[in-house]
Amino acid sequence: MSKRIETTDLNVYYGSFRAVEDVTITIEPRTVTAFIGPSGCGKSTFLRTLNRMHEVIPGARVEGEVLLDGENLYGNGVDPVRVRRQVGMVFQRPNPFPTMSIRENVLAGITLNFSRMPKSEQDDLVERSLRNANLWEEVKNRLSLPGSGLSGGQQQRLCIARAIAMAPDVLLMDEPCSALDPISTLAIEDLIGELKENYTIVIVTHNMQQAARVSDVTAFFNIAGTGSPGRLIESGPTDKIFSAPDVRATEDYISGRFG
């Protein structure tokens, strides 16, 4: 399963402060889309509106539309909890549940939502998810040990396994490698390349080489200055953005001539 995301004129506010302004973008299924831009440009905020995670922050609200295969995430009667079951998310720092074993972490989305599932199906799901996250071989003999005992990179792959065990349509990744060492980063990047066969993937990254390596489409966000809202400057195929962007600011940022 993999779905298309379209936003039109999306604005995000924290209280009266407009953090993101008029973002219109289409994110294609079975591709990796990278959001790049300087710190504070609203790319993470925008990412979090795609599964309504921004609502966790008091005072945050959205104006505009986010369509998931044509269905508006912000339509009447839409339940943010259900949205998040279809749009999974991986965070900046690996955050496995410390009270749960590796196996329980993978099944967390199922068990926490009180879904019943026969043991054999559970075993199957755990193995499948961990295999898809390239973690199975490393942990198959210690599934009952705490997830917090793994290395940082393994923990992050566990979190990816946990997210894909829910069979989401879209996988959002908020700087998933920023807390990891280069080798773990490489493992995650390889994994992203494999996952795009099945999922729509959106990744926020500070690392432009990473955007160039893993993404098919790149979107550049920028702010005019402190206090002004973040905007989408341009988006397009990664090759084009990195070689011949339309906008001067994009070129400055990519070539490192920025701030």
């Binding site: 995670m53 966790v56 909890v81 720092r93 955050n95 926490l112 939502n113 997210a163 829910m166």
Partner: protein, 354 residues
Amino acid sequence: MATLSPTLASGDLTSGRLPKFTVPVAIVASLALGYVLASVLGGGNLALATLLAFVIYLVGIEIAARIVEGARQASDHRARNLIVGAFVLALVPLGSVSWEAISKGLARFDATYFSNSMRNVVGEGGGAAHAIYGTLWVTGMASLISVPIGLMTAIYLAEYGGRNRLSKAITFFVDVMTGVPSIVAGLFAYALMSLVFGPGTKNGFSGAIALSVLMIPVVVRSCEELLRLVPNELREASYALGVPKWVTIVRVVIPTAVSGLVSGIILAVARVIGETAPLLIAAGFTASVNNNLFANPMMTLPVFVYDSYAHPGTDIQAYTDRAWAGALTLILIVMVLNLVGRLIARRFAPKTGR
């Protein structure tokens, strides 16, 4: 080079220091002098001797340091000695209370004490069984009332309240409640019971209400603090899996903080289990076992200690012995609760995963 500064008269960094052996020698000398003086003055009173020794030591070091090291170093010595002295001073009551409770409490720390009540006992014998049962009943009931209210309030404050008006008001009044004198809590329970069941009602449940007034703010405070220690990332991880907020709280946040919550609750119990005044007012006295929280006065261990002390019968020694045995029992209970609470907190400290 060293003579550049005229204030450094000798130019030697190590000059003007009391030799290392000064302190032990001074301690021994002043102790000896103190004892001699005390035996001359007050017939060898141990406390007097120690006090004199301390004064002699202070003065001696002061003079020696002033001569050898100068006034600034002398005042540094004085401050250090007074500060160490303050710490030692605080150990005196602690040591004395423990020693007296153990040495005097052991006289009646026997099987009869824990199996018999004071029913029909006027002199020797008898025990505190009725008071121990009462303490268990009253404290248990108080926990049953306080823990749900306290924990749910803490959840409201940490998870739902944000910084809204209601949560600010609750925080403020929990602070006020922390300062309610324990006897006032007893009066409240008494007044409430008088209104509901008629004037003069004293029973175990009333005592439990009084203790709850004291216990709830402690539970709220410690639980709120612990819930706030749970990293937000875990909540977000759960939300991102499409888990509703309340399920996240019950199945992710609370399990992560559970050891701290349990330890906080145990410490709160330890805090109220020794309360005397409110139970004196609200639960009353009795000499018999009463296992009904809702009828008739109920004896509790602290009140038993007070009662044995304040209303001794003809055989004063028997009552005093029972009071000390009760004090020892109370101290042991409180110490065990404190120890268990701290052990749980340390042993099962939340594993944050990094």
